[in-house]
């Protein structure tokens, strides 16, 4: 066994003073060995990021404070260092990369200058050697054409490139430990795969240890050596990766696995963890997970569990693992998932979109001459049957949200037609369109910006009804609001509260209630779960599925998350650069993707089962700009199987099998 590089003992952090002081990190101990990847896994609000900041002594001042414990880096106590010495440790021996590559770089400095700044600080290089070192670093993080990139500004780089630059800055001081705080959360799956691969490669080359902070089990499965699960400020389980993925011990870890949606759970309700992470400003007497745990019994509520060995380097903080205690039988009985009824057979199409185009003009000059168009959506055709779900999948910037807004007429389409039942929506104007708006609704991605913070929940839900003149009187509408709140699993007394008093999952429920208030037939769900934690995501997915069964709703489900798609959707449409490249039933596409892009997309999705066996099809570069799409097939510059014809002609639709269409020259007979 290798020597421990970083040893954290009993670390505690407090934020704020007095009664409302929050303890986001409360007695956390772990160690990271040289050269290993240690993953810290947990939902948001569990104290993962605070732990990382505490390691660097970068807690928000003056509120945050380390109140106990010790942090030893190769035997040296960091908490005893002066601020001056600590500066040498930061970046020099421990470096950190953050979640948001967009905001972590200074927009007015060139990329080269920003890396050079960091190198200069730690290596005392000047002039030409400094420049050479920076170019070396840029090369190391896999940035092509380094001489040119050195001179460029952050806005000229894509998200993945920026994250690479961030990594290059972090590497400037040759750190022994790299802390990566959700390094790929803001990136698309294909880019995420690239960045994770890069981190793994750098780690191997340099023998660097990595502390990876994430909420994504898939990412952990890909690159971690050991895993620690954090819950409400404490670690609850630590194990080597194989052990953790084959036999998770803590009920919380198990629930996290069970809550993941995937195709094998299609006809069941997802396991949910009821409630949410408890607020950390109170004192805990029992196990912190007890109130959300379905296996909790008396002891769990009265006594804090200690660490127990369950073999093979796995330790767990749960009374169930205590050999001295015998859990009562009923606690052992796992709650069984109840099967949902079968869906109704596919009926007539509710929505038919034909050749939809949404172009945004690019205007230049004093007189705003239109010099070109951003072809955000460029000829999309799809249809959604009644009571079914069509998933629209694609990377960010491919135009999938624009499709949703174009269908709802929130953006004026440039061309094509949208037939809803027997109405052509693009031709409706003013009052005629307004009166139809109750038929189709939208649920947004960000539950925090989708509700007016100045309005009470009751007013928010009622707004649509008032605008559509549903319900004869205010009292009647109020009654309906209460009904709706109950339908989405909220309590009637919530009606007077304001949005900021709710958690993300609850807010998303309010948004669903708001959409349901006008009894729509179609709901466009624009990434409704991507801002939520896994356990909360399961609650929302269950709710959406139940509502579909009871109300016969159709969904257009816009997402980049393949596991959600496989759980919820009947059909999938894959979008690339404003066009649908492949479309078909979910089982067809997921099991036998034909289009090279679909294949690459699916292979890049981190998976929790047997990570070693899957082969990632690595895509070169980033998606081109929709204002200037490549000639021929839009995908050809990145396609591993591109042929001469792909550079010339955009492929026509090929039908293979029933209801499975794609646009690729490989299948063009």
């Amino acid at each position: 066994m290798k020597q421990a590089l970083l040893q954290v003992k009993d670390l505690s952090v407090r934020i704020g003073q007095g009664e409302n002081a929050i303890r986001p990190v409360d007695g956390v101990s772990f160690e990271i060995r040289a050269g290993e990847t240690f993953a810290l896994l947990g939902e948001s609000g569990c104290g993962k990021s605070m732990t990382a900041l505490a390691l660097l002594r970068l807690l928000p001042k003056p509120a945050g404070e380390i109140v106990g414990g010790s942090i030893q880096l190769a035997g040296e106590e960091l908490l005893g260092l002066t601020e001056r010495n600590m500066r040498g440790v930061r970046g020099g021996r421990i470096a950190m990369i953050f979640q948001e590559p967009m905001t972590s770089l200074n927009p007015v400095m060139t990329v080269g200058a920003q890396i050079a700044e960091s190198v200069e600080q730690h290596k005392q290089l000047r002039g030409e050697p400094l420049r050479r070192r920076v170019l070396e670093l840029l090369n190391a993080v896999g940035i092509p054409d380094v001489e040119r990139r050195y001179q460029e500004y952050p806005h000229q780089l894509s998200g993945g490139m920026k994250q690479r630059v961030m990594i290059a800055i972090a590497l400037a001081g040759d750190p022994d430990l790299l802390i990566a705080d959700e390094p790929t959360t803001a990136l698309d799956v294909t880019i995420q795969a690239q960045v994770l691969e890069l981190i793994a490669k750098l780690q191997k080359d340099r023998g660097m240890a990595v502390l990876l902070i994430t909420h994504d089990l898939g990412v952990v499965a890909g690159i971690a050596d050991r895993v620690a699960v954090m819950y409400a400020g404490q670690l609850v389980e630590q194990a080597p990766r194989e052990r953790f993925f084959t036999a998770p011990q803590h009920p919380y870890s198990r629930k996290l696995f069970a809550a993941l949606p995937d195709s094998s759970k299609r006809e069941q309700r997802l396991t949910v963890i009821p409630g949410s992470v408890p607020p950390l400003n109170r004192a805990f007497h029992g196990c912190r997970f007890a109130e959300r745990c379905d296996r909790a019994w008396d002891v769990c509520r009265s006594r804090q569990p200690a660490w127990f060995q369950t073999g093979d380097g796995q330790i767990v903080r749960c009374h169930l693992a205590d050999p001295g205690l015998s859990a009562p039988d009923e606690a052992l009985a796992e709650a069984t998932a109840t099967a949902a009824p079968d869906k109704t057979a596919a009926g007539t199409p509710l929505l038919v979109v034909d050749d939809l185009k949404v172009w945004f003009p690019i205007q230049r000059g004093l007189f705003k001459r239109t010099v070109g168009h951003v072809r955000a959506v460029d000829g999309v055709s799809l249809d959604i049957p009644r009571g079914q779900t069509l998933a629209l999948v694609g990377e960010s910037g491919c135009g999938k949200t624009t499709v949703g807004k174009g269908i709802l007429q929130l953006l004026q389409p440039t061309g094509g037609s949208v037939w809803f039942e027997n109405l052509e929506l693009t031709r409706l104007k003013g009052e005629a369109l307004r009166s139809q708006r109750s038929q189709f609704q939208i649920i947004f991605q960000d539950p925090f910006s989708s509700m007016n913070p100045r309005m009470s929940v009751g007013d928010i839900v009622e707004e649509g009804m008032a605008a559509q003149r549903i319900g004869r009187s205010a009292a009647q509408r109020r009654e309906r609001v209460l009904e709706l709140l109950e339908q989405v699993g909220l309590r009637p007394e919530h009606v007077r509260r304001y949005p900021h008093e709710f958690s993300g999952g609850q807010r998303q429920r309010i948004c669903i209630a708001r959409a349901l208030a006008v009894s729509p037939k179609l709901i466009v769900c624009d990434e409704p779960t991507s801002a939520l934690d896994v356990s909360v995501q399961a609650q929302i997915l269950n709710l959406l599925r139940d509502l579909q069964h009871s109300l016969g709703l159709s969904y257009l489900f816009i997402t980049h998350d393949i596991s959600v798609v496989s759980y919820l959707a009947e059909r999938i449409a894959v979008m690339y650069l404003g066009r649908i490249v492949e479309q078909g039933p979910v089982s067809e596409i997921l099991d036998r993707p034909r289009h090279p892009y679909t294949q690459a997309l699916l292979s890049a999705v981190p998976s929790i089962d047997q990570a070693g066996e899957r082969k990632v099809i690595r895509l070169q570069g980033d998606m081109p700009s929709p204002s200037n799409p490549p000639q021929g097939c839009h995908f050809h510059p990145r396609c591993p199987q591109a042929m001469a014809v792909c550079r010339e002609i955009y492929p026509p639709v090929s039908e293979i099998g029933a209801d499975h269409r794609l646009r690729c020259h490989l299948f063009n007979n």
Partner: protein
């Protein structure tokens, strides 16, 4: 017999008061508006400046209730004739400060005039010297000896009166709060004295004490002394300074009242509708902004002056004429100053309109106007609030500058700007007359300082970035 008179600015002042009261009632029920204001009154600085501002406002309001007195009935007269003098409630309250007019300059607490005059001595011979004042220290037989004891006595009396009044207020207040807190009265009194309550009542009462002391001093002194001296025509400078308060407040608040509808509506429309509406509004404010403000104001005021000189029949009294000019000044200031807020609101609206909840509103078929009123306006309110409070002090100062330049209020309207304008000559005189300038400065400084301190706290309370998560 009196005849009430509602001047143009009076009407707007009371409209403003009504709006403020309505807003307070409205905000009470809305947490997002009430909470920041609760934060505001928890700050010691805010409470102290609020008391000062309230005192100024009270003076301003009392000075806004105008009337004309009936002239004595002449023989054979049928109808009652009213005097040309327009008085206000404040004038009556100030009593001797207004009526005791000397012949010319006199220094603060002087017993003699500031300028030598020919007068008759005891022997009836004509000599040149400083004559005794008609009112200032007239009660003293030997001013040299009795002056300071008299002043000391009056100060002491004022202090004692203040102590008495404040003790009464303290106890009454304690009893009132005790009922609200459900505590016994002595406990409540102790809590206030030790500052152990959410709202810093101790600071409020302390500031109030200072205000009461000032009132007591004015009440005790004014009958016998000119506390701040007299001006060229012998009018009490204290009276001028107090009367100027209304002018300052009117300019500071009415201008805002006039500009707000422009700024808010146009700003929101530009940001929400975009397209040609945005182009027109942007064009409008960019053009307006490129014209130097003083130039525009000077041109407008001069035109107005000519118009009023040609139509003397429109105004029954001098006061009405002066008031019309004040109102016009407010308007022109308002028209030139809405652009800043408008631009700010346009930018913020551009940001807000892309937010999901506005989109959700459109998806429900809510009309554009309703979206602006329900979704945009409440989320812009904090910006409006901050701007209004910050602009206030700027406008009070602007009045002084404009009057100094000569394009401000009517020369007959008492205002700090006019006082400063006149002080230009007084400072050039030998020996110099310094008290007019100093007095205008102190009164204006107190108002602007407390307004600035208050606006600082308001901004902090409403700034979403500074607000802690609750």
């Amino acid at each position: 017999m009196i005849k009430p008179l509602l001047l143009g600015t009076d009407a707007l002042v009371f409209l403003l008061v009504a709006l403020v009261v309505l807003f307070a009632v409205y905000a009470r029920k809305r947490e997002h508006l009430a909470a920041p204001w609760r934060d505001v009154v928890r700050s010691r600085i805010a409470v102290a400046s609020l008391v000062v501002l309230a005192a100024y406002t009270l003076v301003g309001l009392m000075d806004s209730v105008h009337f004309r007195k009936a002239l004595p009935m002449q023989a054979g007269q049928q109808e009652v004739q009213y005097g040309g003098d327009v008085l206000s409630v404040l004038d009556i309250l100030l009593g001797p400060v207004r009526t005791q007019v000397e012949t010319t300059y006199s220094a603060p607490f002087a017993t003699h005039l500031y300028a030598k005059e020919y007068m008759l001595d005891e022997q009836g011979k004509e000599v040149r010297g400083y004559p005794r004042l008609k009112y200032g220290g007239a009660q003293l037989s030997d001013p040299e000896v009795d002056k300071w004891p008299d002043i000391r006595r009056r100060v002491l009396l004022s202090v004692l009166e203040t102590l008495g009044v404040m003790l009464l207020i303290y106890v009454l207040f304690g009893a009132l709060l005790a009922r609200r807190w459900r505590k016994p009265v002595p406990v409540a009194l102790r809590d206030i004295a030790r500052g152990r309550c959410a709202v810093p009542w101790r600071t409020a009462l302390g500031t109030l004490g200072a205000v009461v002391l000032l009132i007591a001093l004015i009440a005790n002194m004014s009958a016998a002394w000119h506390m701040l001296g007299t001006d060229k025509v012998g009018q009490d400078v204290l009276y001028q300074s107090i009367k100027s308060i209304r002018t300052g407040l009117v300019i500071g608040t009415l201008t805002t009242l006039i500009m707000l509808p422009f700024a808010v509506l146009l700003g929101m429309m530009a940001g929400y509708f975009r397209g040609w509406v945005d182009d027109v509004i942007q064009y409008l404010y960019t053009t307006l902004n490129s014209i130097p403000g003083v130039l525009l104001i000077a041109a407008a005021v001069l035109m107005m002056q000519v118009y009023m000189a040609n139509h003397p029949e429109m105004f029954e009294t001098m006061a009405e004429r002066a008031d019309m000019r004040l109102l016009f000044l407010c308007m022109i200031l308002g028209i030139t100053s809405w652009t800043g807020l408008c631009r700010l609101l346009r930018g913020e609206t551009l940001k807000l309109r892309e937010l999901d909840y506005v989109q959700a509103g459109s998806a429900f078929g809510v009309s554009g106007f309703r979206i602006m009123m329900r979704h945009l306006l409440p989320n812009l309110m904090h910006l409006v609030m901050i701007t209004v409070v910050l602009d206030f002090s700027g406008l009070v100062l602007a009045e002084a500058v404009l009057s100094y330049v000569g394009v401000g209020v009517d020369p007959t309207t008492m205002s700090w700007g006019n006082m400063i304008n006149r002080a230009r000559l007084e400072m050039a005189r030998e020996p110099i007359v310094w008290w007019s300038l100093l007095s205008a400065f102190v009164f204006m400084f107190t108002l602007v300082l407390s307004a600035n301190l208050f606006s600082d706290v308001v901004r902090d309370a409403f700034d979403p970035r500074l607000r802690t998560e609750r």
